[in-house]
């Protein structure tokens, strides 16, 4: 029973079952069971990952990783899309913490500022304009919950097993899996002037990519404005927008699309 492969298999099965029960399925009956099963799966999986050796690092990493994964599962399974967005904000905070734990200081702050501060707020604006009542009828059901839960957890299981197998084996001779030493890291990624090195790398080696990204942002801004403006009456340019094949035009709108 303590065979790691068996435990990983159990983790996968319990995780898939828990995610399926937690997904919105029209009733609220299995959600408690799903939460319990998913927590058990998370605990089993956390017992199998290799320890870092330093108890403080271990505990900080486990707390951050647990916060990230739990809020990710919550962001996907809650029925109110507003709560999904808030849980996604928590996922971003967990990810930023994990970036900080690795030494990527700038990326941690950039994630919070750009992702949680701009992208998430834009989501909330659209939710406010489009669905101000919060929960709606189509939020309480999902497509093919079982197949998608099984597929997602199978992908996670395959990746985890591959990762575990690669790092557990000594590797082929002649090409060892060599990590950077502490001295190399102190003068490389973990240097005290991390942001300065990052800036030097960004505007030295990736200068063209930075300029292209700036242009891309401008194009996206103009494109988003044009797309939203084109939908309004009175703005349509002659002949540029084809006849809309919207459901209100073609077929009577029903709540449940009937299979023909």
């Amino acid at each position: 029973m303590t065979d790691p492969h068996r435990i990983l298999l159990l983790t996968t099965l319990l995780g898939a079952l828990g995610m399926w029960l937690m997904l919105p399925r029209g009733t609220a009956r299995g959600r408690g069971t799903g939460i319990v099963l998913a927590t058990i799966a998370l605990g089993l999986g956390a017992s199998q990952v290799p320890r870092l050796g330093v108890w403080l690092d271990d505990s900080v990493f486990l707390v951050l990783a647990a916060a990230t994964v739990v809020s990710a599962a919550a962001a996907v399974t809650f029925r109110n899309p507003l709560y999904c967005a808030i849980w996604f904000g928590q996922t971003l905070l967990g990810t930023a913490g994990l970036f900080l734990f690795t030494g990527a200081q700038f990326l941690a702050v950039a994630t919070i500022v750009v992702y949680a501060g701009a992208i998430l707020v834009t989501f909330l604006f659209v939710l406010m304009l489009a669905q101000p009542e919060g929960k709606s009828v189509y939020d309480r059901v999902s497509w093919e919950a079982l197949i998608s839960a099984v597929t997602g957890i199978v992908i996670v299981g395959i990746l985890s097993m591959t990762i575990g197998r690669v790092f557990a084996s000594p590797g082929p001779p002649g090409e060892p899996l060599a990590a950077a030493t502490a001295d190399e890291l102190a003068s490389g990624v973990l240097t005290a002037a991390h942001v300065a090195r990052l800036g030097g790398e960004l505007f030295g080696r990736h200068l063209i990519a930075v300029e292209v990204t700036g242009t891309l942002l401008l194009v996206a801004l103009v494109g988003a404005a044009v797309i939203v403006a084109q939908g309004r009456e009175g703005f349509r340019v002659q002949g540029s927008v084809p006849e809309a094949d919207s459901p209100s035009n073609s077929e009577p709108r029903t709540l449940n699309p009937e299979p023909s």
């Binding site: 997904l23 919105p24 990952v49 290799p50 870092l52 962001a75 996907v76 399974t77 899309p81 996604f88 990810t95 994990l98 970036f99 690795t102 990527a104 990326l107 950039a110 994630t111 992702y115 992208i119 834009t122 659209v126 304009l129 489009a130 009542e133 709606s136 189509y138 059901v141 497509w143 093919e144 197949i147 998608s148 839960a149 997602g152 992908i155 996670v156 990746l159 990762i163 790092f167 950077a180 890291l185 990624v189 973990l190 990052l198 990204t213 891309l216 942002l217 996206a220 801004l221 494109g223 988003a224 404005a225 797309i227 939908g231 094949d245 459901p247 073609s250 077929e251 699309p257 299979p259």
Partner: protein, 149 residues
């Protein structure tokens, strides 16, 4: 297992978990906003893996790519939300099932779970209070003449 290798291992597993959970949400939810949120979560999983590899190989390239992923995700969010707004204008809902007409020609429309009854369709049940006390005598001037409109 040495520290750096175990750190890389753990980060890759958390990245894979984020990616898998995002994929589950993208495939199964019907709300367009939540679908897009799950796609962003997949990007976060990939960013975590890239940062872990950057630390392992002591190279800034992974963090550069994550920076560009953040910038491109912002552009993608702008365009996607513009499209969602346009779709919402046409159908009035954020449901992706309204756009079944965009499927391939030989696919039947698919809906495996009927929508539950909308609670706002039912008329609201107001509480009924028992009448208490005597109805006050309101003089006729107060009911006929209003000093302020």
């Amino acid at each position: 297992m040495p520290y750096e290798v175990a750190l890389l291992n753990n980060y890759l597993i958390v990245g894979a978990l984020l990616f898998g959970i995002g994929m589950i949400g993208f495939l199964s939810r019907r709300n367009m906003i939540v679908m897009f949120l799950s796609a962003e979560m997949m990007l976060q999983g990939v960013s975590l893996s890239l940062v872990a590899w950057s630390r392992f190989h002591n190279h800034f390239g992974g963090q550069m790519l994550v920076l560009f992923i953040i910038a491109v995700a912002a552009c993608e969010a702008a365009i996607a939300l513009a499209l969602v707004t346009t779709l919402f204008r046409r159908s009035g809902r954020l449901d992706i099932a309204d756009w079944h007409a965009l499927r391939e020609a030989n696919q039947p429309p698919f809906c495996d779970e009927p929508l539950p009854e909308d609670p706002s369709d039912r008329p609201p049940q107001w509480p009924r209070l028992a009448p208490a006390g005597v109805q006050p005598e309101i003089p006729r001037e107060k009911t006929d003449y209003r000093p302020k409109v």
